[in-house]
């Protein structure tokens, strides 16, 4: 009887082990006074559509109720992402009913598991203490939510005073929050442009670098190639860092690191030639040695070029080459700062 079409998307199951109807819980989650008309899944499961809209994503899911204690069909089992169980803290039977359901929950393997009750305050006549229930919940990977619990005291109050503004949500708002904090399989991310600002940054810097390279190229022919070499060096250093084997240089200014990382990205997203050069450098067992070789090759070419220049230009060119070399071998930037200024 069950086909894939019967269970169209991910869902959260609401179960009640008390006299409180799961439909009421669903109504509180959806936030409307009147429930929408439920869809019927596999003839028995009532599914209420719910649109999730958060800062980061939106998703359309269903909130389901089950008529009896059942696993549902296989498609349904796969679709269950969250389980919310309501129970009556004043009744022992209600608690054992929860235990009964847990074996079913184990089959669904939902990510979000919430156990909801009215209150566990000491004078409320609860049959189980809050501490006991909490450690039980921890064991079965559930979160305990009290609909009318007393606000927590102590540390939290102090913390929120000091600037942390996320308040502890109680009751059904916590249920909604927990349902939001789940990677729904059909969610659609919002605002891709800001999400991708890393990529945007890379392309921006690429444009910038392209401008710089052509400037330098106009001035000194082969100069740009040395620039690329230093980029590769930077990129190598960055990848080494990513592998967690950074040695020394810890005291290096963060801005400099940042710069290195981004220049590395520029090379990676640059034109094909740059790309290939980077890949050769990265693929090598000893990336440092490899680019040094390239660097010396360039040195030879630059020397030849310098030989064709008149005497005064040759001096300036030599200085620029020296600066590039200094950068490529990772020399301290402040040592050549002075030179740069004189340059300009």
């Amino acid at each position: 009887m069950a086909s894939a079409a019967l269970v169209p998307g991910p869902c959260a199951v609401f179960i009640s082990c008390s006299s409180y109807k799961p439909e009421h819980l669903i109504r509180e989650v959806i936030g409307d006074d009147v429930l929408p008309e439920p869809e019927m899944w596999a003839d028995t499961i009532q599914a209420y559509p719910w649109h999730i809209n958060t800062k980061y994503y939106s998703a359309d899911v269903h909130l389901c109720t089950l008529p009896t204690q059942t696993l549902g069909c296989r498609e349904f089992t796969d679709a269950v992402q969250a389980v919310v169980i309501h129970f009556d803290s004043k009744s022992e039977e209600s608690l054992s009913a929860v235990r009964c359901w847990l074996t079913f929950v184990a089959h669904w393997q939902p990510d979000v598991r919430l156990l909801v009750c009215e209150t566990l305050a000491e004078n409320s006549g609860a049959v189980i203490s809050r501490e006991k229930l909490r450690s039980y919940c921890l064991k079965v990977a559930f979160e305990l939510v009290e609909r009318y619990g007393e606000p927590s005291s102590g540390d939290e109050a102090d913390d929120s005073d000091e600037g942390f503004e996320e308040v502890e949500l109680g009751g059904m708002r916590r249920v909604v929050q927990a349902l939001h904090a789940h990677l729904w399989p059909n969610l659609e991310l919002k605002d891709a442009s800001t999400q991708n600002s890393l990529g945007v940054l890379a392309s921006q810097l690429q444009d910038h670098a392209a401008g710089r390279v052509s400037d330098a190229g106009a001035a000194t022919g082969r100069f740009a190639r040395a620039d690329v070499a230093s980029h590769i060096e930077g990129a190598c250093e960055h990848t080494e860092g990513a592998c967690g084997s950074v040695e020394g240089d810890k005291d290096k200014k963060d801005t400099e690191n940042m710069k290195k990382q981004t220049t590395g990205k520029v090379t990676a997203t640059g034109d094909g030639v740059m790309d290939r050069e980077l890949l050769t450098a990265l693929g090598n067992e000893d990336p440092g040695g490899e680019s040094f070789e390239q660097l010396f090759e360039r040195m030879r070419i630059m020397k030849e070029h310098a030989a064709t220049l008149p005497h005064d230009q040759r001096k300036v060119f030599a200085e620029q080459v020296a600066i590039q070399f200094w950068r490529a071998i990772g020399g301290a930037e402040d040592e050549i700062d002075q030179l740069d200024i004189e340059d300009e």
Partner: protein, 145 residues
């Protein structure tokens, strides 16, 4: 030095984990789940410091999220305790009322900020504005397009 930082929600879902120790003998998954279990079962009134194997565990709870740090024996618990709060304040400043969703969907930002504040297990940046500078530069580029 700091060995690891974990951000976990009340249900024990790991939202972020960052290790600064690269000891092959340490099974990070087992370590993380063990530490999380140890912290989650503690009472609100209990101390925020505990010993676990060779680590000092320092944790703080902010609403639904637990921030756990494992440090070695040389680290000062109170300093780490304050570091967590500083880190949370920075996140709060950046995300404007940070919540679990921010950590889930802004994970790369959280990592970026954390990398700015901690290098190789040492807290290096305490100034909140400086810690946020790189990630804000990044956003500025994102918005210009």
């Amino acid at each position: 030095m700091l060995k690891f930082l974990l951000i976990v929600n009340k249900q024990g879902h790991l939202r972020l984990s960052k290790f600064w120790c690269h000891d092959k003998t340490v099974n990070k998954t087992v370590l993380a789940s063990d530490v999380i279990r140890n912290c989650l079962c503690r009472d609100e009134k209990q101390c925020s410091f505990l010993d676990y194997k060779d680590f000092k565990i320092i944790y703080r709870r902010y609403a639904t999220l637990y921030f756990l740090i494992g440090a070695d024996k040389d680290e000062n618990e109170l300093a780490v305790y304050e570091f967590i709060h500083n880190f949370v304040e920075v996140l709060n400043k950046y995300f404007k009322k940070v919540c679990e969703l921010d950590v889930m969907y802004g994970l790369e930002r959280v990592h970026l900020i954390l990398d700015e504040m901690v290098s190789d297990g040492e807290a290096i940046e305490m100034n909140q504005s400086f810690a946020l500078a790189p990630v804000q530069v990044l956003d500025a580029f994102g918005h210009r397009r």
